[in-house]
């Protein structure tokens, strides 16, 4: 077994120890719960935890393991956390609260007190895989943000340095995995909300191809861009989780019915002969020198492993931000129209319906969500629709076509994940545009619907840096293969945040 503390093991090592009888799911769950409790005030990662339900599920997993059911179920007995964007069933058919049912808030006051009557597909699939749900993680309100400072329930802090952000919007899910509070977690990624926090917390995070994982029960932000994906401590761990999540779901009309390969089997450790493209547009002004150095060193490592590194060009890259900040807010403004104070969530209690809409939404949504609703409504309004929305959809075609053309000539693309390491809490809250630039290297991948992973590639100023690997649509296997070969060679797999100072 690894010399790391129990709570910091990979799924692979913890799972081997489980199957060998060296530990139990109850011990793993206890180790996570102890960290969650220890760091609740320090990191603010979780919005809801049900320790009793988790321990009960762990005991069931231990019984199943004792019956020898662990052999082909790699997640059996492994504790995990869900971003509070996934609904978790908390009501029975009679509308009564289920014991152990967790609330769902999307990080917003407008859903405070909401209890979902149904479960997301992601939760159902992980439950079927035998994983143990610990709780729901903090996030930017409705997944809108790059720092987790937009949560109605306070910011999450980065386990690497509590004065810095963990990234966002899936900041709680990233920090939980980095901080030994969960062996893996799920996030959502609309413009970088998994990969950017993975980069800032030294974890592995993947946005699968649009359509690869069901979005059923995932609270919608921008429906043509949103995708669900895992955070983990190694590429192999992530491959195991993706294998449990991926596949067609008739309840999501955008989920694609295409075979799911054995992702763990794709991790050959061999990248000899693979052609990997490095787009020059991703190394631009504004990137921290320490980040660029780490990413370039990562590319050199893959070259030394026998991959052919090819200089490529994605000329419309600098149009990505503008394209994204039309399409995503436009879709958000439509999706968030459902929060009307009638069927669920907050209601301002005004006497007249129109006032009730205005006041419920005005008091329930936070500043960033309001900004995006306004931007999206403006872009879709009469007289501006063609100039903004249709134009952005046309540029989307250009961006996608450029990726497709480059990926005809290379097997995958290498790029930085985030142009900076974790920044100070409060540093960018008053400048929305500066905040949006955090996602400049990730959001083109959502625009094109492709799979992308962030894998740790070292430290700069003591804080983690991520290398991004982008692949062809539905070719997560090659993306994982490249990231895994890199991870094995690079020697950053055992990076963990420093233990907190004792007070």
């Amino acid at each position: 077994m690894s010399s790391l503390p129990l709570a910091d093991l990979t799924i692979t090592d913890a799972g081997a120890a489980l199957r060998d009888g060296e530990t139990s799911s109850r011990e793993l769950t206890d180790a996570c719960l102890t960290r969650i409790e220890r760091d609740a005030a320090r990191l603010n990662t979780f919005l809801a935890v049900d320790a009793e339900a988790a321990l009960r599920a762990a005991d069931e997993a231990d019984a199943a393991l004792a019956r020898g059911e662990g052999a082909d179920r790699p997640l059996l007995g492994i504790p995990y956390a869900l971003k509070d964007i996934f609904v978790t069933r908390a009501l029975d058919d009679g509308g009564r609260e289920l014991p152990g049912g967790l609330p769902t808030t999307a990080g917003s006051f407008i859903l405070e007190g909401y209890r979902s009557p149904y479960a997301s597909s992601a939760q159902e699939r992980l439950e079927a895989a035998g994983a143990i749900l610990l709780g729901k993680t903090n996030c930017d309100e409705f997944a809108m943000g790059s720092s987790n400072e937009n949560s109605a329930f306070g910011p999450v802090r980065n386990p690497w340095d509590e004065t810095t952000v963990p990234g966002g919007s899936s900041g709680g899910s990233a920090a939980a995995v980095a901080g030994g509070q969960a062996y893996f977690s799920l996030g959502t990624d609309t413009g970088g909300s998994i990969r950017q926090p993975a980069s800032l917390t030294g974890t592995v995070g993947m946005k699968p191809t649009y359509g690869r994982v069901s979005r059923y029960g995932m609270i919608a932000f921008a429906s043509s861009l949103d995708q669900c994906g895992p955070f983990a401590r190694s590429v192999r761990d992530l491959a195991l989780v993706l294998g449990a999540l991926a596949g067609h779901d008739p309840r999501d009309s955008t989920s694609v019915d295409t075979p799911v390969p054995d992702y763990a089997a794709a991790l050959t450790g061999d990248v000899k002969g693979l052609r990997l493209g490095v787009p020059r547009e991703y190394f631009v002004a504004g990137m921290e020198p320490g980040v660029e150095a780490s990413v370039r060193a990562g590319i050199d490592t893959l070259r030394a492993l026998g991959a052919e590194i090819v200089d490529v060009s994605l000329p419309s890259t600098d149009r990505g931000l503008a394209t994204y900040y039309i399409i995503a807010p436009a879709e958000a403004s439509a999706n968030l129209a459902r929060y009307d104070g009638v069927r669920y969530g907050l209601s301002a209690g005004a006497e007249e319906l129109w006032d009730n809409y205005d006041n419920t939404r005005g008091s329930g949504f936070g500043a960033e969500v309001k900004r995006r609703i306004m931007l999206g409504t403006y872009a879709l309004s009469a007289g501006y629709y063609d100039a903004y929305y249709v134009k952005a959809q046309q540029v989307r075609t250009l961006i996608k076509d450029e990726f497709d053309a480059v990926l005809d000539t290379v097997d995958a693309i290498l790029a930085p994940t985030s142009p900076t390491v974790a920044f100070k809490i409060g540093a960018k809250v008053d400048d929305p545009l500066a905040m949006y630039l955090n996602d400049a290297c990730t959001l083109p991948v959502n625009i094109a619907g492709l799979p992308g992973i962030s894998v740790p590639c070292g430290l700069s100023d003591g804080l983690p840096v991520g290398l991004q690997v982008i692949g062809r649509a539905f070719d997560e296997a090659t993306v994982l293969r490249v990231a895994d070969a890199y991870e094995r060679a690079a020697g950053f797999a055992d990076l963990r945040p420093p233990a907190p100072a004792l007070t």
Binding site: L91, D92, D93, G94, G95, Y114, R115, P117, Y118, Y210, G211, S224, P250, S253, T254, V256, S316, R319, A322, T323, Y325, I326, D340, V342, R343, Y344, G345, L346, S347, G349, E351, L353, W354, N356, D358, N359, R361, G362, A367, K370, R371, I373, M374, L375, T377, Y378, S381, A387, V390, K391, Q393, Q394, V395, R396, T397, L398, K400, P432, L433, G449
Partner: protein
Amino acid sequence: MASISRADVEHVARLARLHLTDDEIDRMQSQLSNILEAIETLRDVDTSQVGPTASVIQLENVMRDDEVRPGLTREAALANAPLRDDPFLRVPTVLEEGR
């Protein structure tokens, strides 16, 4: 050029059914103007020969048999309603009496 007036902000807020305070309107006016200025750089891109992409996957109609399946019960569907008058949702007055 990408400046948005206070009246524009108020108009869009009305469309979005979003009450904004005076301070919020002020801040929104300057922030939206900045963001729109960045966004308007798309105008320089030649898209005369390019079709729009609404979704990256080719959506097709999916047919299935018209069978009854379990769904949400009425009780579960109503459980989160701020106001209810069983078996209905209750909403504030929409029209004044007598109109």
